[in-house]
């Protein structure tokens, strides 16, 4: 049993070494916390990460700018649309693009829905690990409604790849208002129930109040951002500090905690969900209804192919991801010009130029080729500042793509937070950090 880890070498001979290993319900499967115990008290802890290091940054260096979008969904897989947003906006900053107004509105709508589902999942897991299984079931139910609203438009519940470089993939589903309204109503009902269950609950308070306290200076020294930093009292939110999209035109507050303990992280996330729901309502009011499809009934794709064998086919083809008819005339509102987005699919059936441009977009060395240089841009993710640092050498593949993962810095403080506490305190402290393996280990 030769000591390979630091904790084995530095541990006192009589203390007990315990593995809170990767395959542990409260460790979300990807973190190993090694504890040096004196009865129940933790003398020192060592955190081992990297169990979900999937080589994201190396893979991106071998994928084209457009093809690596699905990888950004799987970074913070609890709020995938916000990663899409971060990557797309960093690229737009590098390419110097302006996204059409409607696409920006849709992006804010989708981003906020993704943020609420992120907080729901985090608090559900934290509450379940403290024993409140009912809260877990309630919050999963609320998240189902949110995912349904996202799936209506993006086609997928979670890994959507919906927000693209230059805009969004498709227009909103015709009755998206109903879906978003029910999602907001259900989530509000669940938030009321959960705050009733947990806010005054003496067991939950006993497990989280004054447990895992981090001071302002330490939080900044660890590079904390997002709800965890705000729980210590510093109101830093990227949406307010560096407004992007339409956040400067929308009115929402930034909730702040006072002691920076587990309970504050919980209550900041609960209040932040309320703010995001308010944002959803404001945005739903701002988004105009879709213009009805102009022109006669659209041609089915198979029919268009058959006709195109005899002569050029004029008129729209009924083809779009949510099968709501031709997308060509809606593209102006959804995707920036300049050959950044995928050309409309139906033009491949009707015109030779459309076929060639669609093919060229995906060919090696052709697609999106930003100028040489590097760029950094960050958005407010579920855990904090999600930043993309991209170095491009002018080819169609990134030379270097680095993600600034917020929960990497938050989990770095775990060793200090649990030292001197009891073993049972590791669970709520780790739960309130919302560690997401995909983002932490990249």
């Amino acid at each position: 049993m030769e000591p390979t880890t630091r904790i084995q070498r530095e541990a006192r001979p009589e203390s007990m070494l315990l593995n809170m290993g990767p395959s542990h319900p409260a460790m979300h499967g990807t973190i190993r916390v090694m504890l040096e115990l004196d009865a129940e008290r933790i003398l020192s802890a060592e955190v081992e990460v990297g169990y979900l290091h999937r080589g994201f940054e190396k893979t991106c260096e071998n994928k084209t700018w457009f093809n690596l979008l699905p990888y950004t969904d799987r970074l913070n897989y609890v709020s995938p649309l916000i990663n899409n947003l971060g990557y797309a906006m960093t690229m737009e900053k590098m390419l110097g693009l302006t996204v059409p107004e409607r696409a920006q509105l849709i992006r804010v709508l989708m981003g906020e829905m993704s943020r609420v589902s992120d907080h729901l999942t985090c608090l559900a897991a934290m509450a379940m690990e403290c024993g409140a299984f009912t809260v877990f079931l309630y919050m999963m139910k609320a998240r189902e409604f949110l995912w349904e609203a996202i799936e209506f438009t993006a086609g997928a519940r979670m890994t959507t790849s919906y927000i693209r470089i230059g805009g969004v993939r498709a227009d909103l589903h015709p009755d998206w208002r109903g879906a978003v309204a029910t999602a907001v109503k259900e989530t509000r009902k669940v938030l009321k129930d959960v705050s009733g269950l947990l806010d005054g609950n003496s067991i939950f308070l006993g497990r989280t109040r004054d447990v895992g306290i981090l001071s302002k200076e330490d939080a900044l020294s660890y590079g904390w951002t997002g709800p965890c930093l705000r729980s210590t009292g510093i109101p830093y939110d990227v949406r307010k500090a560096h407004p992007y999209l339409l956040y400067d035109r929308l009115d929402f507050e930034v909730p702040v905690g006072d002691r920076g303990d587990n309970y504050d992280r919980y209550s900041v996330r609960m209040r932040e969900m309320e703010q995001s729901l308010r944002l959803l309502e404001q945005i739903s009011a701002l988004i105009p209804d879709m213009a009805p499809l102009a022109g006669g009934p659209a041609v089915e794709p198979a029919e268009a192919i058959r006709r195109s064998r005899r002569q050029r086919v004029e008129g729209p083809v009924a083809l779009s991801p949510n099968l709501e008819g031709s997308e060509m005339d809606r593209l102006a509102g959804l995707m920036a010009a300049g050959g950044v987005g995928v050309p409309p699919k139906e033009s491949t059936y009707t015109t030779m130029e459309g076929l060639i441009s669609h093919f060229l977009f995906f060919m090696d060395g052709k697609g999106i080729r930003p100028p040489k240089g590097d760029v950094y841009f960050s958005v407010e993710g579920g855990n904090g500042e999600v930043g993309f640092y991209i170095v491009s050498d002018g080819t169609d593949r990134p030379y270097r793509l680095h993600l600034r993962a917020p929960c990497f810095h938050i989990v770095a403080a775990l060793e200090q937070l649990v030292r001197g506490r009891l073993v049972a305190d590791v669970i709520p402290t780790f739960g309130s950090m919302n560690m997401i393996g995909g983002e932490l280990d990249r």
Binding site: Q8, M20, R32
Partner: protein, 114 residues
């Protein structure tokens, strides 16, 4: 006496069946990893667990004491069935004495792991 024999027979057979069924139905594929303790999948950090701290031992003793007390309730209840209040009073004395011991241990700080 006869009920006692029946009780032992029934319970004995039931426990035997439960043990043997596992031996009969479960396929047996021994492997070295199964003997080692389950440490969340990671290699254990210590070859063997050292001396256990005192508080664990004290709490275990206290639990044993109160658990045995609960086990005594069954025969006491059966024995005092016809006695009415007097029997119940004897039972209360028994519980009271043990409760005193429990409160004493609590005040001595058996649960306060400094």
């Amino acid at each position: 006496m006869q009920e006692l024999a029946i009780a032992f027979a029934v319970f004995g057979i039931m426990s035997a069946v439960m043990i043997l069924v596992n031996f009969l139905l479960g396929p047996r594929r021994p492997n070295p990893a199964r003997e080692k303790p389950f440490e969340c999948g990671s290699p254990p950090l210590q070859a063997s667990i050292g001396p256990v701290n005192l508080p664990f031992f004290l709490v275990a003793l206290l639990f044993l004491l109160l658990d045995v007390e609960v086990v005594f309730f069954y025969p006491l209840a059966v024995a005092f069935r016809g006695r009415g209040l007097a029997g119940f009073a004897a039972l209360c004395v028994f519980v009271l004495v043990l409760a005193l011991g429990f409160v004493y241990a609590w005040k001595k700080g058996i649960f306060r792991w400094s």
